[in-house]
């Protein structure tokens, strides 16, 4: 397993051709779901066909909740908890399955997603689901809310919680993200970690790679195989606390 790491550097003088080798080589077969998540994922799936992009986020979600985030069902209201903001709200079934696996929500809730009495929609709502930090669905809101959360924690002297935000490479099309990326980099908001699941679905791509959008603004960046748990864990804990950090989790195109 190889990782590529980049840090702040000079902006390229000309846009290079889209770099399809930025992601490290990986086994083209998608590995099995994490053990504790698999039955819950199948339970919410209930025989439905999910698009590949739902599956593609499960590994990073599991690594976050299993090995990185300092938050438990008992601390969802503790001001010192780590935050996780799912910006790409449509990648929600794996999120619900992970929340159930970690005890934030009862597994029975998975049986009626989108039903009239259900708390689980096709996009998550923080007012309805314990442990969910933001309601999302409309793309491009998570980074701005995350920047504000990090600033609010800092203003109150809460310097240990980290704020993680998960988005997709196509979601980066939304200009609101670039407002947040530039500002967070310029002000050195070191408690932020963005995770971009890159399935190369952005209509016009990101010539030079997704990470370059962040590093040119002063973020540190690591690009890893989005299914490799150890590599994800290393990347998600590889921040220096002085600058915001982005982890690009590369998965197969369209996945």
């Amino acid at each position: 397993m190889t990782t590529t790491t980049a840090s702040a550097g000079p902006a390229p003088t000309a846009a290079p051709p889209r770099d399809r080798t930025a992601a490290p080589p990986r086994d083209p077969t998608v590995p099995p779901l994490p053990g504790p998540v698999a039955p819950l994922y199948e339970r919410i799936r209930a025989g439905r066909e999910f698009s590949a992009k739902v599956r593609s986020t499960v590994d990073v979600l599991w690594v976050l909740y299993d090995r990185v985030l300092r938050v438990t069902p008992e601390t969802v209201d503790d001001s010192r908890r780590d935050r996780f903001l799912l910006s790409k709200g449509h990648a929600v079934e794996g999120y619900y399955a992970v929340l159930a696996a970690k005890g934030f929500i009862p597994a029975e809730w998975l049986d009626d997603q989108g039903g009239p009495e259900s708390r689980l929609g096709d996009h998550p709502d923080r007012m309805l689901v314990p442990g969910v930090e933001i309601g999302s669905g409309s793309l491009g809101h998570g980074l701005g809310l995350g920047v504000g959360t990090a600033l609010g924690l800092r203003a109150q002297g809460l310097l240990t919680p980290r704020v993680h935000m998960l988005l997709g490479d196509a979601e980066l099309d939304e200009g609101s993200n670039h407002e947040a990326i530039a500002y967070a980099g310029a002000t050195g908001l070191g408690s932020l970690t963005a995770i971009v699941v890159d399935n190369r679905s952005a209509t016009y791509g990101w010539p030079g790679g997704v990470a370059a959008r962040f590093t040119v603004n002063g973020w540190t960046a690591t690009t890893v195989d989005g299914h490799d748990h150890d590599a994800l864990h290393t990347a998600l804990t590889g921040h220096d606390n002085h600058r915001p950090h982005v982890v690009v989790a590369a998965v197969d195109q369209g996945e």
């Binding site: 701005g144 809310l145 959360t149 203003a155 109150q156 530039a182």
Partner: protein, 300 residues
């Protein structure tokens, strides 16, 4: 009004560590002393209005009370989805404070005009809207809004009445023409022109600087069968509220305010007030026609 806003906000930042201010370059220089004293709570994100409101949502999620400020079109229109999603949908609140109003910066043209801001805020639920009519009304309204929990919109203007009126926003009768007389409700800085317009008519005049929540109980107590609304933003913005409050009684309603047409003219704010018929002469003409038609309709 902007000066009073800057002074009051600067004081609030010093008094209450929950208070935070989010800017997008507009008025940043005026808040430089506050930013020096409270660098973690005076946050200028640059010319990034989507981020400005998103940051406010994030701050509120951590328990702070954000004040968010820019020109009305950039604060409300450009960042409307952030207001809807990053504040309301997250179940958190903020105090939005705009300058520019409908046409304070008339010579800047359409990009800086915002007659529809109150209508847009009115598509949301549970917001308090303050439209002060005098700089002296601003400090108390801002303090009340920041001390409360919900979301509020303060709409500041360079236009104002000759004197301030206090109170909590309940309709305040400034001229009483007796029971059953037509009721004119003036919102914020249009009051003086409205008073002048009906000086020789048997019209009761009531004032409010808080169109939302509208004082419907006061309206029902004061209204006869004819109501005239005069608002300094889009005409008809409060018509639905008045109609709903009086749904059980026959009444006629004249809703005056800023027109929807883009005039494509520069000039001064006073010019636009006249062109939209909101000066004393224009209001007198509209109210006179409305009341004459009532007399004709009644066969008198």
């Amino acid at each position: 009004m902007r000066d009073r806003f800057v002074d009051t906000t600067t004081a609030l930042l010093a008094e209450d560590p929950r208070t935070a201010l989010v800017l997008a370059d507009i008025s940043a220089a005026a808040f430089a002393p506050a930013a020096y004293r409270h660098p973690d709570r005076v946050l200028n994100v640059g010319i990034r209005e989507q981020l400005m409101v998103g940051v406010a949502g994030g701050l509120a999620l951590t328990g702070l009370r954000p004040i968010v400020h820019s020109y009305a079109p950039f604060l409300v229109e450009r960042a409307y989805e952030q207001i809807k999603i990053d504040l309301d949908h997250q179940g958190v609140g903020a105090v939005l404070v705009s300058v520019g109003a409908s046409y304070d910066r008339a010579a800047s043209g359409r990009t800086h005009l915002s007659p529809a801001d109150v209508s847009l805020i009115d598509t949301l639920h549970g917001w308090t809207v303050h439209v002060p009519g005098h700089p002296g009304e601003v400090p108390a309204l801002l303090r009340d809004a920041v001390a409360a929990d919900g979301s509020a919109y303060l709409r500041l203007s360079t236009l104002h009445n000759a004197r301030p009126y206090g109170g909590d926003g309940a309709l305040r009768v400034l001229r009483d023409a007796g029971p059953g007389a037509p009721l004119l409700v003036a919102v914020g800085p249009v009051l003086d022109a409205a008073l002048a317009a009906v000086a020789d008519l048997g019209v009761t005049v009531a004032y409010t600087h808080r169109p939302r929540p509208f004082d419907t109980a006061g309206l029902r107590a004061l209204a006869g069968d004819a109501v005239i609304l005069v608002e300094p933003y889009l005409a008809g913005t409060s018509a639905r509220v008045v109609s709903a409050a009086l749904a059980d009684r026959p009444h006629r309603l004249l809703a005056l305010g800023v027109g929807r047409d883009e005039l494509r003219r520069y000039g001064s704010a006073e010019d636009h007030t006249r062109w939209h018929g909101l000066d004393a002469a224009g209001l007198r003409h509209s109210v006179g026609e409305f009341l004459d038609s009532a007399l004709l309709g009644a066969g008198r």
